[in-house]
Symmetry: C2
Subunit: 250 residues, 2 copies
């Protein structure tokens, strides 16, 4: 089984609320269809410009209070809206994608999953469905309510379900030594323990998201790719195990 | 906690695909808002004219095969569409309804739930959210895939969660001795063991659905009402425990 993460910046334009990159998702579904059903897939997508503006507007990260309850639900509904767009593109290509609501099956604490019910995901995979999960709101043991990122879902699933590989689709070519916009930025082809934050090699990371991505990737019991999902053919290369983007040293 | 079933024929016109009785749902939400948050609520709605036409078109009841996989997913998406309409009406009235996908948390066999994960529903209720579930598609141990009715969900939840009462909203005044359209049809105000199919009293039931409803109601560890959800004020009476529609002999 291969886990594919459709990054929020791949499927939508983060600067434009409720925008959806239909063509990009169509291309990705097309590439997946070349390997299905020989290979099993599980898809997780980010919130992109559907989830983030609402999570921010309602300040969901601050936890439960009376005013945020309604916003918690609106944010989930917005994510279902984005999810439906992706599901429909897969179904049109005769790929049996099926929506699984993370907020229905995961309980979190400090942003990480502490309890989950994977029975339905396992059953869906067993029957050659393609479960599609997404960054979602979630009930949290610490804050009452919180946000659950697609990356956290993948970390949890990778460790529990032992996939063949995990492929993160981003809007840049992989992980860089500097901001990809800078001239002398270099793509890091292979990540290993040396790239951990306590290591010596430099990694471009403004928000700390990349650092966390690398840490999580190194912990996963499988190969991990970080590739540019906007370029046709990249996903195919990663599925085949070819040299593309940033991958883990095995 | 009170479980309210919004029957498919109450929230939509079963003869008109994708129709939605917005005003009826608004009135019901308004009545619930008079008792919230003093009382906790859990809502389950039927498929109405969203779920049934698709379930029929794709012949989902016949179980898993390659062609039906896509239909299985389309049917779930149609149910989410109906669910969203109901959620939005509740949210507009500041009732924190939250969608829980039955297909993500229930595994069924012979149309009945044999395994379920209620953790999130319990957490939502504990935090005074109003979980909203719905008749859905489901993974089935016997047929691979199948349909899970809202009534089955209620039977399972009533027995596991011991609600204060269950209120079924229908498009007729309750359970009748004959077809409600016949002149001498009489409303049965109180149902008890004598009305079981092996009993003597007559109950109007074309499809067997009513027989099953009565059997299930008699098994629930709480009061059960069958009332007309199209008439404003009825839900309020049932919540208050007044005489309305058909109720169980306690």
């Amino acid at each position: 089984m291969i886990i594919v993460k459709l990054g929020g910046s791949v499927i939508s334009n983060k600067n434009k609320p409720f925008s959806f990159n239909e063509n990009v998702v169509e291309n990705l579904a097309e590439e997946i269809s070349q390997f299905y059903p020989e290979k099993k897939f599980l898809v997780v997508h980010g919130g992109g410009s559907f989830g983030h503006p609402l999570a921010k507007k309602y300040e969901l990260r601050k936890g439960l209070n009376e005013e945020r309850k309604v916003g918690f639900s609106y944010t989930h509904e917005a994510m279902l809206e984005l999810n439906k767009k992706i599901i429909n593109i897969f179904l049109e290509k005769n790929l049996p994608a099926f929506s699984v609501s993370p907020s229905s099956i995961f309980l979190i604490e400090k942003g990480e999953i502490v309890e989950g019910w994977l029975k339905i995901i396992e059953e869906l995979l067993d029957k050659d469905f393609i479960p599609v999960l997404f960054g979602d709101v979630a009930i949290a043991k610490d804050k009452g309510i919180d946000i659950l990122s697609g990356d956290q879902i993948i970390s949890f699933l990778a460790n529990k379900m032992k996939p063949e590989k995990v492929i993160f689709l981003m809007d840049v070519d992989g992980i860089y030594t500097k901001s990809p916009e800078e001239k002398d930025a270099e793509l890091i082809e292979v990540i290993d323990e040396k790239l951990k934050p306590e290591g010596k090699a430099g990694v471009y990371d403004v928000t700390g998201g990349i650092k966390n991505k690398i840490e999580q990737a190194l912990k996963m019991p499988c190969q991990v790719y970080f590739i540019n999902g906007m370029i046709k053919g990249n996903l195919t290369k990663a599925i085949k195990g070819e040299k593309i983007g940033t991958r883990k040293k095995l």
